[in-house]
Symmetry: none
Subunit: 197 residues, 4 copies
DNA sequence: CAGTAAACGAGACGGTACGTCCCGTCTTATG
DNA sequence: CATAAGACGGGACGTACCGTCTCGTTTACTG
């Protein structure tokens, strides 16, 4: 019995890999609406039949294809909450500027708005993206740098709120000045004294 | 004189109205992706030919249909920046909870991300939604309640950032407690002393 | 009062003429199926409205446009039935080879098959085309060259039958040899002794 | 091995059959101009897509639908050319009076006049309709009843010319008297002595 | 290492939507 | 009041994908 999860037919593995790769490609290029089984099949060389055999619906395929998206970068450890938050925020800003998922997120948000199947996907992705802030927050709390009535969610919101708003709603550039100010304000919110400047 | 731009054929007026109404209906129900010329034609009773006569493309139709969306509510005038902002923020939160445009916005953001034709639409809509904050900010500045280095955009961002983030990204409820805190924080950011409560 | 048939508005006359001309053009180019009010309007510069004012239906317009088609050539008078028939047959063969109506007739026959409105048109055209044979036949009968139990219809059929069959059904060339033979055979049928050659 | 060209997908066979049947129906009802892919699809229950998959164009569909039309009746064998020709001519006259193809032929002739794609169709149909005359002629020639300088085409023309002319051009009834006379005349043309009367 | 069960490709199928074209009717405004 | 201009509903066009389905053929695992 031993191997059971692994003993997948080689062909299956190959097909799934090819399909997921192309789905991801289409996803980042055209958002959720840009992914069609037809096109995935055409590009991957995997027959439509096969795709539907492995994923019961387009949504299922999208969910799996998104599961690799936006995998969190290393959590920084500068020694201070202040430093960690700055590093994390700059990283997030950078990703919002250039990462593939930044182009795709709105379409996922939209999908989550009306297809329950995809709402979970949105939640997962969001959790994954925000996880590092949680880690940093916990660490800071443990060190006594963060008030106990301020949790990870507050930290996340304090940073992501302004950044996301600027990226997708006001559509102004996410320049260094702006990012610095976001960090400063966030620290203020959270009742943390910036170490210096 | 007088009539010139108005003297549009009655039939044209009727057709356009019917089409726009149904487009709006479909839009709020299924987002941008849920609007198809075929369905609009079917529901409005206006022939597809006629629709294409008035709007060269689906995008053009969407733009016009969205132009009525999210028309700003009356700007409150409570006498203080504090009061105005509170009223405005509560109103925005309420709309985010229930207004039709709140369901549609993500699909517009997504569209703006890849169809330049629709990016303008997004900008317009955003401006319309945020206009009241600008009015209130200007008024406050005139009254000396708001520092001169803080403009309308700052006010808007301070409120909309958290609200939007919560509505579409963290997907937690926009309850009264949260809204109150947003206002409080915003005032803090803006360097305004809350009057009392 | 007085003049009443003539006192047609100049504009009416001009419009009708332009419309009929273009209808005829389209008719000879594409048969009955090739005539559309839309196209006639476009080419003639006369508004569709105007066309429908003057002709209640497409059929009516076609009928009038066809009334000029295939106007009979001069009836030959060589002095003998033999000679007349030869001349007439050669003329008919020539027209079948090149005249505009030869291209159009099948579509008229087809139309006559299912649209009663156009059946009359077919009858008229046919009568017009065949009239000369009638004249020649009568003349021959008067001269005693043609048996009294053979009338114009017999003469017409004896010549047109083979010619038409060849033109539209067997689709072989209407060459001189064939035409000569048709005349010879026809004379045989009709019980007329060819004079000599 | 046997089946090879036969082993067509059952579904394909069914679809094609349904489509051809309805095409034939529309064809006989309204001529070539009365056939629209849309209507064929609607009546046959076969999707438009599927129709276009099997036939690249309306013309191709018509060609195939016509290929079954006017399939020749049994060739009579009365023992004499005289008898055979009489039987065949009466049969043809009967068909011209009532057969479905008799209503359709003019539209095919018309189409052949301008659409090369359909000219072949006309030729095929004509050949099919006239084949029996060829058989009878050959048989008669073998028996010495028909002069060697008169071939099938002559026989065909001698009979079909008058019949077709009467059916579609003079539009007089194809009564028994007329048919008898056509046979008599044809035999005369062909230099055959009627056996008796 | 043979037999078998699965995985697979190819593609038929019924649909829906597309955007275009032309139809014949009807309304409006101009000359 | 004849006309030009053109809006309108309707229908067909041929194309592109969609997701479902039925095949016949590999091909990798297993007994």
């Amino acid at each position: 019995m031993a191997r059971s999860g692994d003993s997948v037919d080689v062909r299956v593995r190959r097909s799934k890999a090819a399909v997921l790769a192309q789905t991801y490609e289409l996803l980042t290029a055209g958002g959720i609406g840009g992914v069609s089984i037809e096109e995935v099949s055409r590009r991957s060389g995997v027959a439509k039949t096969t795709i539907y055999r492995h994923w019961p619906s387009r949504a299922a395929l999208l969910v799996e294809a998104c599961s690799t998206i936006g995998s969190a970068p290393a959590v920084p450890d500068t020694g201070s909450f202040d430093g960690d938050l700055t590093a994390l925020t700059e990283e997030l800003a950078e990703q919002l500027r250039s990462a593939r998922w930044a182009t795709v997120l709105p379409s996922i948000v939209d999908a989550a708005e009306r297809e329950p199947e995809l709402a979970g996907l949105h939640a997962d992705l969001h959790a994954r993206l925000m996880a590092p802030f949680g880690v940093v927050a916990e660490r800071a709390r443990a060190r006594g740098e963060l008030r106990t009535d301020r949790g990870p969610a507050d930290v996340t919101a304090a940073v992501a709120g302004p950044l996301f708003y600027r990226r997708w709603f006001s559509r102004e550039p996410l320049d260094a000045v702006f990012v610095a100010r976001v960090v400063e304000d966030a620290l203020g919110h959270l009742g943390v004294q910036p170490r210096s400047t």
